[in-house]
């Protein structure tokens, strides 16, 4: 009986950490889904998250209000994403180039501001977002604490699985978005403003990734560190591909990736040494397998990555 109890709480900790660490991956992946479904590749998600993490922290620090920080992270994501939108949609800049520019810019700017303003501060930081236990539901054995004892960004991510899915597959906006990502000229002949649809989706991806950024600085550790997103934006993109451009799939893929991290750290603790580089490779390896078509046909939107020029 005693043994079983330990076992159950182990599962809960494992599940809970898997879900919590999957939060930013999934949010970046949802951003990728919106963006790519409309036909714009967004490798800038990494840079957008990092900017969100920084601005969110800076605003929370200055205002002593974590919620203002979260809102600022989202706004910062939208703002940075608008650079990507302007460059790649209006000025027809190659989307990979534009995304790379933003990634480099984000590392540079957040690094500089961090060293200038934050590194030397002795004052107490804003702390972390509170964990909310949902009454009754959080008492369910095993699943309860995993799903219903979380902080804001994780709850938001869980709700957004459904919201993004519904938007993409059941609304007018979603239909138009998919049309623009598959065959923009056909969308235009149907009377749709392709550039407008793409703009809004890129901005939405910025909001989602910005919120993902808030996870790092305001939910996980309550502090900003340079480069703290550590490539999670790219893994989010891998999750989007692995999840076949659907929010549900991307969420499950994110869980798979973070679960493997948990396995690795537990294995290490138990004395079995798996080189961390191996598990770090896993998301990319799995993605290559998917993209190579080993798991059925890859279904990237047909026009993704191609700037659309009106005739």
């Amino acid at each position: 009986m005693f043994e079983l109890a330990i076992h159950a709480s182990d599962v809960t900790v494992f599940g809970s950490q898997t879900l919590v660490t999957a939060t930013p991956l999934a949010l970046a992946a949802f951003g990728g889904v919106m963006c790519e479904r409309s036909g714009v590749t967004n490798i800038a998600l990494e840079g957008i998250m990092l900017t969100g993490a920084f601005v969110g922290y800076a605003v929370a620090f200055a205002s002593h209000n974590l919620w203002l920080g979260v809102a600022a992270a989202i706004m910062a994501g939208v703002l940075i994403a608008s650079i990507h939108a302007i460059l790649s949609i209006s000025f027809l800049v190659d989307q990979i180039v534009s995304g790379t520019v933003i990634n480099i810019l984000a590392v540079g700017i957040t690094g500089v501001f961090y060293r200038t303003f934050l590194e030397t501060q002795q004052v107490q930081g804003p702390g972390t977002l509170p964990v909310w236990s949902i009454p009754v539901l959080s008492q369910i054995p095993i699943a309860g604490p995993i799903l219903f004892q979380n902080a804001f960004v994780t709850y938001a991510m869980l709700v957004l699985i459904g919201v993004v899915h519904f938007t993409v597959f059941h609304t007018t906006w979603g239909l138009r978005t998919r049309a623009c990502g598959e065959h923009p000229r056909a969308a235009e002949t149907a009377g749709i403003n392709v550039h407008f649809v793409r703009y809004l989706n890129v901005l939405a991806s910025g909001a989602l990734a910005g919120l993902g950024g808030a996870y790092f600085s305001l939910q996980q550790i309550g502090e900003f560190l340079p480069g703290m997103t550590g490539g999670r934006g790219f893994i989010g993109l891998a999750a989007m591909i692995f999840g076949r451009w659907t929010p549900g799939g991307a969420f499950l893929a994110s869980l798979l990736f973070t679960a493997s991290d948990q396995v690795a750290s537990r294995a290490t603790a138990a004395g079995i040494h798996i080189p961390p580089q191996f598990l770090g490779m896993l998301p990319y390896l799995l993605t290559i397998v998917v993209v190579a078509g080993a798991v059925g046909r890859s279904i990237a939107p047909a026009a993704v990555g191609k700037p659309y020029r009106k005739a």
Partner: protein, 504 residues
Amino acid sequence: MTAALELRGIVKTFGELRANDGVDLAVEWGRVHALLGENGAGKSTLMNVVYGLTTPDSGEIVFDGRPVVIHGPQDAIRLGIGMVHQHFMLIPPLTVAENIILGQEITSPPGVIDLETAGRQVSELSQRYGLEVPPRARIESLSVGVQQRVEILKALYRGARLLILDEPTAVLTPQEIKGLFEIIRNLVAEGNAVIFITHKLGEVMEVADAITVMRRGKVVDHTTPQQSTPADLARMMVGRPVLLRVEKKPAHPGDVRLEVKGLVVHDDRKQVAVDGVDLDVRSGEIVGIAGVEGNGQNELVEAISGLRPAVSGQVLIGGRDVTRRSAKSRLHSGLSVIPPDRHRQGVILELPIADNLVLEDFDQPPFARWILRNLRAVFDYAAALIKQFDIRAAGPAEPTGSLSGGNQQKVVVARELGTNPEVLVAAQPTRGVDVGSIEFIHRQIVDQRDKGLAVLLVSSELDEVLSLSDRVAVVYRGRVVAILEGEEIDRDRIGLLMAGGAAA
């Protein structure tokens, strides 16, 4: 009675090119108005102006008696103008109903798509106009004929009263064309107007009430089918009398040069595209492949060229089995190929004509020694071919992309025939080419046949297959369903076979 559409002095230029050069056009309600012209005459450009896809440099548009400015397709749709494009504007992974309602979605509550109701409305609309479509099927699973019906429904759903059909018959079987004409007649009987774009004379004579002929961006004449003969129309289109038939002597076939045995080939989606084809082509004959596009012709051509692996079966050139050989080694064993899509496979537009003419042996003597190219030999050879094949260009160094479509195609033909091959596979050899160049290319192919070349001709233009071929193989769903010869080569019979009808 007010005209449905009146265009006055429409000008549209692309750089130096005047694609529309002061075009006037008047289309009446209740009429089928044919817009006839060669490839490149400016027909699609003019209709893109009407549909708001391009902005004209100058000119006026009057719709139903009112002057209008059309900024984009939304404006055109609002006025009641619908357009079915030459290349369909459908989104392959979406369903029929989704494609039809796109942009004017049926929602409940607002913003949320109501596919239930949408499907019902699509069914009602399709019954009303006799255009049967499956509302829940994905576009990518439908044949082109059905896709075209979806396009027409899409326009009608948006309340189109003026329907523009840009080369609607290019992808249809003769039977499907008859069906389309019936739909067109029903639409105009209800008082709508239809603009029917084509370069096929027979269709104009059959379906049009009024005809406008365009050439090089200008309207050259207005007429009616009663007032003109096909020969008149051809002359107006081209600007000089044209031979509507290719003159050729009876064939004298020799030994088998190209042999295909039990060939099975997959398409990109790993579906069987060529399903056990047996064919042989003899020296001195032209064997034509007739079939609706997408019945395995492209895969067959690629398998013979060595660009696509054979799943089973054999390809023999001059008696040698080349099934496992590379494309390059096949070219060197006497095969020449005119690929179906010249921009994707035929020429490199950025390169000079000379380089395109030696694309297949630029690394062989006399064009190269060891790792060095011999440009003098290349240019001399190119100059000779340019003369022989009447390629209208400033010189061998001119970039191929600056030539007209017809002259680009002549570059491909010159390269492929210039090596004196034993076997020529000519896929869509005159697609998107002006009438003058068509005549020239046909003449070259027939002349080479007379000198002993074995020709496999693949074309979606039935007229081309009928006028050039000594024998005709009809393909349907990847199989050769009949091989016809001499008197058996009959338009209606082939049309029936192309549509999957049993051999008569």
